[in-house]
Amino acid sequence: MLSDRRPILLTNARIIDPSRDLDLVGDLLMADGAIREVKRGISAAGVPEGAEVIDCRDRIVAPGLIDMRAFIGEPGAEYRETLASASQAAAAGGVTTIICQPDTDPPIDDPAMVDFVQRRARDTAIVHVLPMAALTTGLKGEEMTEIGLLKAAGAVAFTDGARSVTNARVMRRALTYARDFDALIAHHTEDPDLVGEGVMNECEFAARLGLMGVPTAAETIMLERDLRLVALTQARYHAASLTCADSLDVLKRGKEAGLAVTAAASINHLTLNEIDVGSYRTFCKVSPPLRGETDRRALVEAVASGLIDVVMSDHDPQDVETKRLPFAEAEPGAIGIETMLSAALRLVHSGDVTLMALLKAMSTRPAEILGLPGGTLRPGSPADVIVIDLDVPWIVDREMLKSKCKNSPFDEAKLQGRVTRTIVAGRTVYEYV
């Protein structure tokens, strides 16, 4: 810990609170792990004795980010990433809450595992870590898990992680059952049969590279099926990672029909495209694959309009032995929790997405969807706060990233803007110097 539990006063900051569409220059006071006051000029009389005063002139102060999709190797693959190492990377990226995925070994599919992850995180992680639990036992897509008991144990949502539940009957029953518990189901929408041998987006470039393609229809068909089941069951549903314009049309129809549907897009699909695969760069192999520029632009517009609710990192640490392989044989996945905000600021600097909309998609919306107390700067809320310098230029050096694995598609990328301070529950857990 860099600092103790002293009250913290951030002064002269541009304070952005997307939960209230608030954008003002002023001060923010935190004490006892909670936000106390946010306003233009907190008088000296209102500042508790011994408070740490930090001048944030020309800086942004915003709610800590909530990363709705991160794969962590603990338990089972601690050599790739632990809750501790992931939390260090998260803190450096301004993420104060990690929503970890159940694709561990063993998977998080029973209440004891939810309990284990929460205890390990409490003891070793420097940011909040909240688990999603498996939707089906063993992530096999066959039998639903103990949704009631898992939710009571602390699971924030239910998902089979990077796998799709292909059996529509299983999905329907799980949605039906989850609705009774008001549980959220997050789903990776990709028909594995249509993915087949595909390893990158189905496009001319794939043809030139001699790589098998994955059609966007693999995603859209699954999403379409899911939304029909959501209409049937009236359950709460979250599309975990959408990547193409066709899916956005389906999503839009679902939302317009009044379904309780939300969706996320990964930082990779918002800032990279199929051309980034270049000469078989396995760090750019992700699932679903990076799409064409038209799809990427549609996705960016959807973030700007709010059609896409959430921007997440899709953080997936892969080691040398799974990435230093011929493209088709390499595992998909990219780390991203530490670079997510900086990479996303490209969209702000280019004028495509407002800072307010971006921060909303990275904090307020995830909190609302998952029913978490964060994602806001309202007085009384948890003191999960970040300070951002919008202008500082830097070049990503993967060796400097805090993740145990270095499979970053943003290695050597020139980025502008970054988190300079991350505060979790009123304590500074990261400071950029």
């Binding site: 039998e143 639903m144 009631g148 009774d180």
Partner: protein, 317 residues
């Protein structure tokens, strides 16, 4: 004690295929008749002669212990010659064989056929192919009329009435023939019927069946007079309809705490056989408020009443 059942009471149908189709008066008539047999069954001399010379065949395509023995005892006490035929489910080639069986049996001139079958509607199909009287002892997820009658009799004897009572039927409504027969019968007698279950165990459209639907035991049992638990088949657990026995018991299993949501004098019923620790715990099942053993006793009386009433429709020469 020698009670002569009222000879005036007859059913208007030749068969008893379901509660559906019985009038309120017929239901009450059967319950009144059964009440008389309760007294007879508690005597040393239980034998009557109303079915003397008649042949009753219990044709069970699905394994059953209590229903089959209850019907057997009921028939014998009324003087019938009773034969049990258990047809293993594995040996049946559906449809064609069912009708072949019916034709074969019909040739033996039985007077009464008591039939249980795993498919909804199978008993009605068989009834169309035989000349004798047919009693449905449970067809698939459709109806189990004698169970609903014995449940109503049990309720009436303990509460003095059925009208206006709040009866909460809890558990696997979707697959339960007991639930369907009870919903119809209790509605006919003006009880307030609730069903309580997770959505996966409720048939879509259940709210149109004349019940109040609850997905939470606390709400569903509030002010209930009768808590009727249903058996959860093992094949419905383990992730297919509910995640596990543990989770089912945690949210829908009847224990002292959940029973506390009902009225202080609420009574507990279960058609059996019970899965202890799944839909009900032993403290409640064996407790002072449990009517489960009385239900079994009423079963014999109700089946005697049904046999007696239907026998009055049989050709006598």
């Amino acid at each position: 004690m020698n009670i002569a059942p009222k000879p005036s009471f007859v059913l208007h149908q030749r068969h008893l295929l379901g509660i559906e189709g019985l009038s309120r008066d017929e239901i009450i008539g059967l319950l009144d008749l059964a009440e008389e047999f309760v007294a007879i069954n508690r005597q040393v001399e239980k034998k009557r002669a109303s079915l003397r010379g008649r042949t009753q065949i219990n044709l069970f395509f699905e394994v059953s212990t209590r229903t089959q023995s209850s019907f057997e005892l009921a028939g014998k006490r009324l003087g019938a010659d009773v034969m049990n035929m258990s047809v293993g489910a594995s040996s049946i080639r559906k449809g064609e064989t069912l009708i072949d069986t019916a034709i074969t049996l019909n040739a033996m001139h039985p007077d009464i056929l008591v039939v249980r079958h795993q498919s909804s509607g199978a008993v009605a199909l068989l009834a169309r192919k035989v000349g004798c009287c047919v009693i449905n002892a449970g067809d698939g997820s459709h109806e189990h009329p004698t169970q609903a009658l014995l449940d109503a009799l049990t309720i009436r004897r303990n509460k003095g009435q059925v009208e206006r009572l709040i009866v909460a039927i809890c558990g696997d409504i979707a697959h339960s023939r007991v639930a369907r027969s009870n919903i119809i019968l209790l509605n006919a007698l003006d009880a307030r019927v609730r069903v309580v279950a997770p959505s996966t165990l409720l048939p879509p459209g259940v709210e149109r069946l004349g019940v109040e639907v609850y997905r939470d035991m606390r709400e569903g049992l509030r002010d209930a007079d009768i808590v009727m638990m249903l058996r959860l088949q093992r094949e419905r657990m383990n992730g297919s309809f509910v995640p596990s026995e543990q989770e089912y018991f945690a949210y829908f299993g009847l224990d002292e705490k959940k029973l506390g949501y009902a009225k202080p004098d609420a009574l507990v019923m279960h058609p059996g056989p019970m899965n202890r620790g799944v839909e009900i715990n032993s403290t409640v099942a064996d407790g002072a408020r449990s009517l489960i053993r009385e239900q079994v006793e009423m079963g014999v009386a109700v089946r005697m009443a049904v046999l007696e009433a239907l026998s009055r429709k049989l050709p006598s020469a």
